[in-house]
């Protein structure tokens, strides 16, 4: 039972001007072990807030969120995180970055080196171990970030727009890599994205969130992620169901955006 359970999760921020922003309102969901959830929504709908709460960086105003029946209180190794732009430690080499978590646990460096090499091979960075990270391209940096997170063997992986800053081609390759890793490791993954296509392709489940207050607007169960395990991702995009769902979601988000604009005007 390593489920992620959120009960009546509320998050209210106070701006310096004294206004209150209801970032999350009464969020209830359950994520089973091994599920891949993608979260989509216009900006300001509380996606990143949800992720930060799950990671333990901030505490919710009310409600609880539990992983494996344990309430989340502060950051922990069992919840790995991948950021939009690597957030790599540029003073360390690729190996040292990947190794970072194990080194913090003071594990035997000889044993960890073997693990590091294994993970570098999985993410396709074999032989780059001694390269300084500032010499890597954006896609490679994200691979390092993935390996660095996975080497700690977390129960839950949180990805905050991990592919957002990459070019289209690299992005596709990385999408396949995420699916591959999901399949091979069977980890629970929450992935936040701006791209509807990406959310459809990768998400076994998909939440479309709505802003003000931040809430889950609609939930989808999608077949494309399991299909993508054996198929070329571009084939899936040609699928009729895929395009109709995509149009539906796009319309939904457009409506939301218009509503916000209207409110503001």
């Amino acid at each position: 039972m390593s489920d992620l359970v959120s009960q009546n999760l509320n998050m209210i921020f106070k701006t310096p001007k004294g206004e209150t922003v209801h970032a999350l309102k009464d969020l209830n969901f359950t994520l089973k072990q091994g599920e891949l959830l993608t979260v989509l929504g216009p900006s300001g709908c509380g996606k990143t807030t949800l992720l930060n709460i799950t990671a333990g960086f901030i505490r919710p105003t009310s409600g609880t969120i539990t992983l494996n029946n344990k309430e989340i209180d502060g950051p922990g190794v069992e919840r790995g995180m991948v950021f939009q732009q690597g957030a790599l430690f540029e003073w360390l080499t690729v190996s040292e970055n990947v190794n970072f978590g194990l080194r913090m646990k003071k594990e035997d460096p000889i044993k960890t080196q073997k693990k590091v090499d294994e993970w570098l091979e999985i993410v396709g960075l074999k032989g780059f171990g001694n390269t300084p990270t500032y010499q890597l391209s954006g896609g490679m940096q994200q691979r390092v970030a993935l390996a660095r997170c996975l080497i700690n063997d977390p129960d839950l992986i949180l990805m905050d727009e991990p592919l957002g800053a990459l070019d289209a081609l690299t992005r596709e390759k990385m999408q396949s890599l995420v699916l591959k890793i999901w399949k091979e490791t069977g980890k629970t993954i929450i992935l936040i994205t701006h791209s509807v296509e990406e959310a459809l392709l990768l998400g076994e489940r998909l939440y479309v969130m709505a802003p003000r207050p931040g809430r889950i607007h609609k939930e989808y169960k999608l077949p494309f992620a399991s299909m993508g395990l054996n198929k070329d991702l571009r084939e899936i995009k040609k699928n009729k169901d895929f395009s109709s769902t995509r149009e539906e979601i796009l319309e939904m988000i457009w409506d939301m955006e218009e509503e916000i604009m209207g409110k503001e005007i």
Binding site: F89, E90, F100, G101, M104
Partner: protein
């Protein structure tokens, strides 16, 4: 010799490089447009031209070229200056370089003075008519003195004879001067002169005081004539001095003049004695009139044509001496820019740029000399090593109270007069360094002292500033608590603290190191704080979710992330410390480069001043280059993250 060679080398380098540069411009393709930065690439030959030009100007304006190519020129010109000076008084009497005879202008001046005083007396309200009449009478008598001097018929035979004598002497001198073997020096005189020349040394020679080993001031230009030409001028100058003394002693006082002036003086004296206190104005006018009479008495006033022959003689001698100078005049004008030796008079000083801009050759000589540990400056070498026993260092580092706190007592002598050492005594010997181990070389000297002060100030600043700065960047309490303290002392210019700190902590190392510590501390705190607070939040989040503890995040994320800022801070601090140190050493102290410069300033030792400037520049450069190397090695990711 070396200067000559270098001058030629530089000269040809400049010409060669300019020609090369011209040819390069012609052969280059016109693919780079104006404003294209590629146009500024390369150009080593222009570097050579630039630096050579600088050296050439230095050599020229410091008169080193004159010294290199014509070492005797200064000495010879010095002798010319002597002649010029001796001739000046005589020449001044005649319309040679002046517009009129000295007599004429003096007569005019005194007549003017008398006229002025006449008008003043006539218009005065403080004088009664009787007084006015008497005073005007005095003036009329004074006026009558002048024709008594200028009347040719009254000129006495004796005076005429003396004028003829002097003229004859000048003519003889001119005649002799033209002879090649003048001043007819005999063997003994010659040997004596040459001995004096060798004792005096060459131009700009550096003398080291044998006793104390300190460098004495440079002799600028040797005064004793070293060449035959110089000797000629020197001898002529001496003779001219005698002649001109004789002339100025001569008085054109005929008996009538003497009687008249005696009468006048007497009359005034009697008149003034009879005056009472209320008639002070009349008294002072009378006094002034006598003053004018005295001036006329002692001026060399002669009848208009009495000195014509003498004038001719002087003009002839002047021509002869200018002829004898030959090319020397042009040497003086062209090889001694910004002031000439002749213009400085018989003292022959290197005024003008020759003093404050020392010759490269002299500077180099002095630098080599000062670098010798036995010479140094103020009995301390610039940089040398001392063999110091390691035990002394142990004794210096370990505090003496280690021995004090041990149980038991120190050894007491027995009644037999023997001191038996015990454990506590042995420990005391150890902590005070009273034993022998092996010796290691330890640097010392002015340069080392300056370096050590900067280094220690910097190290203490880093040790305390970096952790405090990081702490302030991460903790609200620390930021709030220490901020006022730092922001209050930091904006004060470091030197403003110097008098206070030096008077509290002493003029030795402690005060200066503390001052530099203050300088580096604020810089290190600010840079470390900026580094710590500039850490990306996502990196800290990442480290948190990778299981790092607070301490580990500080050690492995925040510290390395602040390293670029910290190292830049160190670079800035080094520059600041270096500048402050030199100024602090100016203020007080007994060692250090700034101290050397300050002392050199007091004794006008321009060479030493330039040497210290050079050393400081080199050390500053060394610091910066070293730090830049360290920065490139330790934070290669800087600006690439």
């Amino acid at each position: 010799m070396l200067t000559q060679l270098i001058t030629f080398l530089i000269f040809f380098a400049v010409i060669g490089c300019i020609l090369y540069g011209r040819r390069l411009i012609k052969t280059e393709k016109i693919d780079a447009v104006f404003g294209n930065p590629e146009r500024a690439l390369g150009g080593t030959h222009w570097v050579i031209v630039g630096s050579s030009f600088l050296l050439l100007i230095w050599l020229y304006y410091s008169w080193d070229i004159a010294k290199g190519f014509y070492p005797k020129s200064a000495n010879e010109l010095c002798q010319v200056a002597k002649v010029n000076d001796s001739l000046l008084g005589l020449k001044y009497q005649f319309p040679i370089e002046q517009r009129e005879l000295k007599s004429t202008s003096q007569i005019r001046q005194e007549n003017k003075n008398l006229k002025k005083i006449t008008i003043e007396i006539q218009n005065s309200n403080d004088l009664n008519n009787e007084q006015k009449t008497i005073l005007i009478g005095f003036i009329t008598k004074t006026k009558q003195l002048i024709p008594l001097l200028t009347n040719e018929n009254l000129l006495e035979g004796e005076t005429k004879q003396k004028i003829n004598d002097i003229t004859g002497k000048i003519n003889l001198l001119t005649e002799n001067f033209k002879k090649p073997d003048y001043p007819f020096e005999n063997e003994q005189e010659r040997n004596e002169r040459l001995k004096a020349v060798s004792e005096e040394g060459g131009w700009g020679i550096t003398k080291v005081d044998a006793g104390s080993g300190t460098i004495e001031n440079t002799i600028e230009v040797p005064l004793v004539p070293a060449t035959n030409r110089g000797l000629k001028f020197d001898a002529a100058a001496q003779e001219l001095n005698l002649i001109s003394d004789e002339f100025f002693k001569l008085r054109n006082h005929n008996p009538r003049f003497q009687n008249t002036i005696k009468e006048l003086k007497n009359d005034v004296k009697v008149y003034r004695n009879d005056l009472n206190d209320s008639e002070e104005v009349a008294s002072s006018y009378a006094k002034n009139i006598v003053k004018i009479a005295r001036r006329i008495e002692f001026a060399s006033i002669y009848p208009p044509n009495a000195l014509d022959k003498m004038q001719n003689a002087i003009v002839n001698f002047d021509k002869a001496q200018i002829e004898a100078q030959g090319g020397l005049r042009f040497v003086d004008i062209f090889l001694f820019p910004a002031g000439t030796i002749v213009a400085s008079g018989p003292s022959c000083s290197e005024q003008g740029s020759g003093r404050w801009l020392p010759k490269p050759s002299d500077t180099l000589n002095k630098f080599v000399l000062m670098s010798k540990p036995s010479v140094g400056y103020k009995e301390i070498p610039l940089l040398w090593i001392n063999m110091v026993d390691v035990s002394k260092m142990i004794g210096f580092i370990l505090p003496d109270w280690i021995a004090d706190i041990l149980p038991g007592d120190y050894p007491v002598h027995t009644k037999d007069g023997i001191v038996k050492q015990n454990f506590k005594g042995k420990v005391l010997k150890f902590v005070t360094g009273d034993f022998k181990l092996f010796k290691i070389p330890v640097p010392y000297g002015h340069i080392w002292d300056s370096f050590l002060r900067v280094f220690l100030g910097l190290v203490f600043g880093i040790i305390i500033g970096v952790p405090l700065g990081l702490f302030m960047g991460l903790n609200r309490f620390a930021k709030g608590f220490f901020d006022p303290l730092i922001e209050l002392y930091r904006p004060v210019p470091p030197l403003a603290w110097a008098p206070l700190i030096i008077s509290v902590l002493g003029i030795d190392n402690t005060g200066k190191v503390f001052l530099l510590f203050m300088v580096s501390l604020s810089i290190m705190i600010i840079s470390a704080r900026a580094g710590a607070s500039g850490t990306q939040l996502s990196k800290i989040h990442a480290a948190h979710s990778l299981g790092a503890s607070k301490r580990q995040i500080l050690r492995y994320v925040i510290f390395p992330n602040s390293l670029p800022e910290i190292l830049t801070g160190i670079r800035v601090a080094v520059g600041m410390c270096w500048g402050t140190l030199v100024a602090a050493e100016f203020l007080a102290g007994t060692t250090g480069i700034g101290f050397v410069e300050n002392v050199a300033k007091k004794y006008f030792q321009y060479e030493v001043i330039w040497i210290t400037i050079f050393i400081m520049g080199m050390l500053g450069l060394l610091f910066d280059v070293t730090l830049r190397k360290i920065i490139d090695k330790t934070i290669p990711w800087r600006g690439k993250g």
